[in-house]
């Protein structure tokens, strides 16, 4: 049977079919949909599935489940692997009992912000095998294979995908679920599960290296494919595979190829054998020349001179996701032929000039709109210029405060980093106030240690926690601060209490829909010596609308509106439309209004009114 599944959905299906009993992760594009797909089925499947507080904790949970004999998987985006790596590097040395799979999705081409990190290097650094997925079907099949390998070698296995596979859907052949229901059991073995002695650590290192070789033997013939047809060769891996196949079929190309499905360890012998028949080679892999460098090593050691096209000679870029066009161009370079003409560049240039750019702002009714408006006004109220006040931003919806019309945030580094950076600016000698903004989920994830540090070191800074109750940017996942609902966890951890527990003394709570009060409270907090925390609390407007919490909408009184457009320029709310009408312009608030009421407060003419009786 076939189903239309994205790469991530296919991984979810693979998890079900493999009999996995513990699934955890932290949301992050382009990996989120694995747990997003599974979580609603948790009860029916009878297995534990959770959004953990961060990727490191998620990895530890999955690991212990595997040590107790269960199959377990942890999912994350590439940045999450950086967070998890501290634990994972140690875990890999110890190995595992039940199958343990680490699913990570890279984002070449940056579909969702952040770095173009090549996570394949973690497999080398951590000394663990890594399978590299190149299609939606493999997304399912490799999950099952990864569990099989992990249990055979008794060590964790990395499973890596990229956005152009994880987010694209295709017809995927699905199989049957195996239910394992293993009994949990763990035996004490400190030479394997602790690391206080050099000899134990080095033995564990040796074990990891041995496991790598075993993994390679098990999967070699199953994931690496060879096709021999002439002296021109291509070594291809990951997402580049599909566009390569598209080109081979479209132009009926005659060439040899080796498709690699395990990137650590690489199939040295197979590559050596393949190179024997090749005079000119193209290496197709997105991001860094990970395979290409190794192919050069293998070719050097085998003493055969081969022309190698790839990143080192500039044929291909180390940036972005490879389009069909780029793959086609590289094949043209390999074969020294012209394969097909393209659209007239004049037409494309002209179209690009005319194109309508659609800058993103906050959603209709977003509480962050009120918070950033209030921060800017508080800065002004204290007679500072906006250009003089550093506001460090953080990951998630809250970073949109860097965009027009607010332009409040200055930096974005990593989860929780806004609070750490703010302290560094103060110690560097920035005398004017420094502010940090951070969302609720980001705060729980990695914002607590830097808050404790700031309190302990008594740094003067203001931390604004924008608490909308959801991990909204990635698609409204629950987090420890989410209000208990029918479908969510009944526990709720109050950020204010967490801040108190971290030793913060000056903590205030505002409702960002109440602008005047918010401005005053933020201004006071900025003036407060030492650490001040403002929790700006109001549920994500899209989520509260889904829950039918409707606020009265607003309308423009056409007699009072002068068409000054202050509302538009200060809030940029997508619910507003401006109708230029003769000399006098007129604003309209469309029915998509979520009733935040901010426009009413910023209108200098008092021309915006609440629609009474309408909810």
């Amino acid at each position: 049977m076939k189903k239309l599944l994205t790469g991530n959905e296919a991984v979810a299906e693979g998890i079900i079919e493999s009999g996995t009993e513990v699934v955890c992760g932290y949301p992050g594009t382009p990996s989120t949909e694995v747990i997003q797909t599974l979580l609603p089925k948790a009860k029916e499947l009878g297995i534990h599935i959770e959004w953990s507080v961060n990727e490191k904790v998620a990895s530890e949970i999955a690991t212990a489940a595997s040590w107790a004999g269960k199959r377990a998987i942890v999912t994350m985006k590439m940045s999450g692997l950086n967070v998890a790596s501290d634990s994972l590097c140690s875990i890999i040395y110890s190995g595992c009992r039940g199958g343990l799979v680490i699913y990570v999705v890279d984002d070449p081409g940056v579909s969702a912000g952040m770095v173009e990190q090549d996570s394949r290097y973690y497999a080398k650094l951590g000394v663990a095998p890594m399978l590299d997925i190149s299609s939606q079907q493999e997304s399912l099949d490799f999950v099952k294979l990864a569990f099989e390998v992990s249990e055979k070698i008794k060590g964790p296995v990395f499973l890596r995908s990229t956005a152009s596979i994880s987010h694209v859907a295709s017809d995927v052949k699905i199989g049957k679920r195996v239910e394992l229901k293993r009994e949990a059991h763990f035996e004490r073995d400190i030479s394997k599960y602790t690391k206080p002695k050099a000899s134990w650590c080095m033995n564990q290192h040796q074990d990891s290296l041995t496991r790598l070789n075993e993994a390679s033997k098990i999967v070699d013939s199953r994931v690496n494919q060879v096709h021999l047809e002439g002296k021109y060769g291509v070594i291809v891996s990951g997402a580049a595979w599909e566009n390569f196949q598209e080109a081979v079929n479209r132009y009926n190309l005659k060439l040899s190829w080796l498709k690699i499905g395990i990137v650590n360890p690489l199939p040295d012998e197979k590559i050596k054998e393949f190179l024997k028949d090749i005079d000119k080679l193209l290496v197709l892999e997105e991001l860094e020349p990970f395979i290409e460098a190794e192919v050069m090593r293998i070719s050097f050691l085998s003493g055969k001179k081969i022309d190698i096209l790839g990143k080192f000679d500039g044929t291909l870029s180390m940036m972005g996701s490879y389009s069909f066009k780029e793959i086609k161009k590289s094949l043209e370079a390999l074969l020294k032929v012209k394969l097909e003409s393209e659209q007239n560049s004049e037409i494309i240039k002209r179209a690009e000039e005319l194109e309508v750019k659609r800058p993103t702002s906050f959603c209709i009714g977003c509480p962050h709109r009120g918070t950033y408006y209030a921060i800017n006004k508080a800065i002004k109220k204290l007679k500072y210029k906006k250009k003089d006040i550093i506001v460090t931003g953080d990951i998630g919806c809250t970073i949109l405060g860097m965009n027009k019309p607010f332009e409040t945030c200055w930096t974005e580094v990593a989860m929780g980093a806004s609070i750490g950076l703010a302290q560094g600016f103060k110690w560097a000698g920035i005398e004017k106030p420094v502010l940090a903004t951070i969302g609720d989920s980001t705060f729980f994830h990695a914002g607590i240690p830097p808050l404790i540090n700031a309190v302990y070191q008594n740094v003067s800074l203001t931390i604004i926690i924008l608490d909308n109750g959801w991990t909204a940017m990635t698609g409204f996942q629950e987090n420890p601060g989410t209000i208990p609902l029918k479908d969510t966890n009944p526990m709720r951890i109050d950020i204010v209490e967490v801040c108190k527990g971290c030793g913060a003394k000056d903590i205030s709570v505002i409702d960002p829909y109440h602008l005047k009060e918010s401005i005053d409270v933020i201004a006071e907090a900025i003036e407060h010596p030492g650490v001040s925390v403002v929790v700006s609390r109001r549920e994500c407007a899209l989520q509260s609308r889904r829950r039918k919490v409707n606020l009265p909408k607003l309308k423009v009184n056409p007699d009072k509106c002068t068409g000054c457009r202050v509302c538009l320029s200060s809030l940029a709310c997508p619910a507003m439309i401006f109708h230029p009408k003769d000399k006098k312009g007129l604003m309209e608030i469309t029915s998509s209004c979520n009733g935040c009421g901010l426009c009413k407060d910023v209108c200098p003419e008092e021309a915006i009114e609440v629609i009474k009786d309408a909810v």
């Binding site: 599909e242 566009n243 196949q245 005319l354 194109e355 538009l568 401006f578």
Partner: protein, 194 residues
């Protein structure tokens, strides 16, 4: 054989739902499918575009000059896809314009319709105009604009009408009759070309 469909619009117009119905239809027909969706920050006013590739396809995205048909729900969004139009390929243009935030106060900055048409003509596209908003209003369901266009696309592409209507029925939660009416109106306003 490949059939490559490019669909574009802005958040809230139902581009993804429309595309998904086509992808599911192709599955029903036992075809291979690649379904790419770029959603990004659609909720926050961003553009949305999907690519549905049917038949002997491998890559996730439509290669240059290979789109057999386009459905453009927001007029200017076609400008981002000119590279893909196959000569003689069909472009179904909806008349709708949606201004981004920084253009709201200056609608005159929106690209001129004549210029868009000229570029499409230069790219040798076969343009088919549809006022989907008007038709959707006629059937009494303004949000069914996407289904008007689905009807038009199905007719032009000579899709199995019964089959795609079945997929449509399964995928819409409410107002089924009005959605089907919107589909039928779209189906009737165009003529199949293949």
């Amino acid at each position: 054989m490949q059939y490559n469909i490019y669909l574009a619009g802005v958040g809230g117009q139902g581009v993804v739902r429309l595309s998904e119905i086509i992808a599911r239809y192709a599955m029903e027909k036992g075809k291979r499918v690649k379904f790419y969706k770029e959603i990004g920050l659609a909720q926050r006013g961003g553009p949305v575009h999907c690519e549905v590739r049917i038949g002997d396809v491998f890559g996730p995205r439509i290669p240059p000059l290979s789109s057999n048909i386009m459905v453009i729900m927001e007029l200017s969004e076609v400008l981002k896809a000119l590279e893909l139009i196959k000569p003689k390929g069909v472009v179904i243009l909806n008349k709708k314009k949606v201004y981004p935030i920084d253009m709201m106060a200056h609608p005159e900055r929106y690209p001129k319709q004549e210029e868009i048409i000229k570029l499409l003509n230069d790219a040798k596209a076969e343009i088919i105009w549809i006022d989907a908003e008007k038709i959707a209003l006629e059937v009494g369901l303004p949000i069914a604009e996407n289904n008007v266009l689905l009807g038009a696309l199905s007719s032009i592409s000579s899709f199995d009408k019964e089959c795609i209507l079945n997929v449509l029925r399964k995928s819409i939660p409410r107002e089924i009759d009005k959605n089907i009416a919107a589909f039928n109106k779209g189906y009737e306003v165009v003529n199949p070309i293949r």
